[in-house]
């Protein structure tokens, strides 16, 4: 069997002296959508940050596209085609919509250009000259995803894309993620709203207290709401 696009093995990550991740292992295959579920503070965001090098792990290995990228600086990981849509969007608030997109142009080439992103997300086209700090939450989420697209990622790490958004806008966001999936982009999706994520994912992992406590096909987990409740706590199976 060929190696998965991304494989994380035995990751241990600390914030200062506080241990966050304990022996986290997961894989994402090429073109696969993998959901990473869990409660607040379970370690999902830290897992993503460890993968892209923003919070280097203390131990363990991260392999991507056949290379060991453990503790690589974030810019090098990004240049390999790993896009990041962080929690809370993280716009460059004083820069315009267009400038935010321009920052992601990296000369890797690929199907996604700024023109194509603006065509696919026409709302962003209308707002191209507006400072991104003045966009609504939904518009910022679109821009954050658009920004990642312009970099033509092979793997996209998406952190809590539905957080704080109105249901209609969440639908929009997930429509784009599904379109991306159709074009063969692999996605590691962190989401509090378990059912929403399981709907689009091929496989799912559940984290609790910094460990992976479950891994398996998404459909299987989606069909078993009691299982989700047990794994993630009572209020997790919403939506």
């Amino acid at each position: 069997m060929s190696e998965p696009l991304l494989s994380v093995e035995g990751l241990y990550t600390n914030y200062g002296k506080i241990q966050i991740l304990r022996d986290v292992s997961l894989t994402v295959g090429a073109g696969e959508v993998v959901a990473l579920l869990g409660l607040n503070g379970a370690g999902k965001t830290t897992t993503m940050r460890s993968i892209i090098g923003l919070t280097p792990p203390r131990a363990g290995r991260v392999r991507y596209g056949g290379r060991d990228i453990t503790r690589w600086p974030a810019y090098k990981v990004a240049r390999l085609g790993v896009g990041y849509v962080p929690e809370g969007r993280r716009m460059f608030r004083d820069l315009t919509t267009l400038e935010n997109l321009q920052l992601a142009e990296n000369g890797r080439g690929g199907a996604w250009t700024i023109a194509r992103v603006l065509e696919q997300l026409p709302k962003l086209g209308e707002l191209r000259g507006r400072k991104s700090g003045r966009l609504s939450g939904g518009e910022q989420e679109m821009l954050s995803i658009g920004r990642a697209l312009v970099s033509n990622p092979t793997l996209l790490l998406v952190d809590e894309p539905s957080q704080g958004l109105a249901p209609l806008i969440v639908e929009d966001v997930y429509r784009i993620l599904r379109e991306l999936k159709a074009t063969g982009v692999a996605i590691l999706l962190v989401e509090q709203n378990a059912l929403l994520a399981l709907h689009i994912a091929d496989r799912a992992y559940v984290m609790d207290s910094g460990r992976i406590v479950h891994g398996g096909p998404a459909a299987e987990l989606a069909a078993d709401r009691n299982r989700i409740r047990t794994l993630m706590g009572l209020d997790a199976a919403v939506g």
């Binding site: 923003l54 810019y75 962080p86 460059f92 400038e99 400072k131």
Partner: protein
Amino acid sequence: MFHDLAPQLFNGLVLGAFYAIVAIGLSLIMNLTGTINMAHGSFMTLAGYLAYSLVLRGTSFWFALIAAPLIAVIVGIAVERTLVRPLYRREPFYSLLMTFGLSLMAEEIFRLIWGPNGVPFSAPAALSGAASLGFMTFPTFRIFIVVVLVITISALAFFLTRTRFGLRLRAAVQDTEMIAALGTNTQVLYAVNFGLGIFLAGIAGVLAAGMLGLSPTSGNALLMPAFVTVIIGGMGSLFGSIVGGLLIGIAISMTTLFIPAASEVSMYVLMAIVLSVRPRGLFGEEGIFG
């Protein structure tokens, strides 16, 4: 006294332009990395002395005006890579102390190389003399200074707002992690940004040497007004530094004319007034150049 008003006002603008360009360099470095560069004045002095030595060895003033700041930039980037960079992860206090120590060392090194007293560094013949502005005459060299500083600041504004690298710098000031996650090597940004700040200091250093004289402490004399400029203009705003610098320059020149004894204290009075009305400075919340 009042017939002195126009020339003195113009003097104030020249002085203010110096404060502005030094303050912009300080702000660039402070905004991106949180480093308060206490050695900024030393880089001014260094560029001044380098220009002096270059001209002494027979190069033209024009060559020295560009070459000396560039050499200072090379020294500056070396300092950033070796001494400042390891402190980025720490409290700003550490880099403040380190660069303060560096400025003390630099002063002694200048004394060792170029002597404890001031050295003469004068403008080339083409720039000496006076030019008529119609309503008054004014030393040509000072007009030249204003022209060079305006060109330099305009070039910087162009670089920051119209180039890809400038865009990355402006973005990194807001979120260094995200800019890294988009594929930009932030260490390169830090180094180039530090170099830019030093280049501005260097240009100011050479010009100031020709107008205000050159001694081991001459750059440091401009550092405190530059810090006051940053505070009056508002942290984070390069445009604020321009306005703040000009205001201080005019305040100092006007008090020199009317109440000479108070000239030293006037910028602090101005700072107190501005801060009591707007604690964040005049343009403290604006983005950098828009």
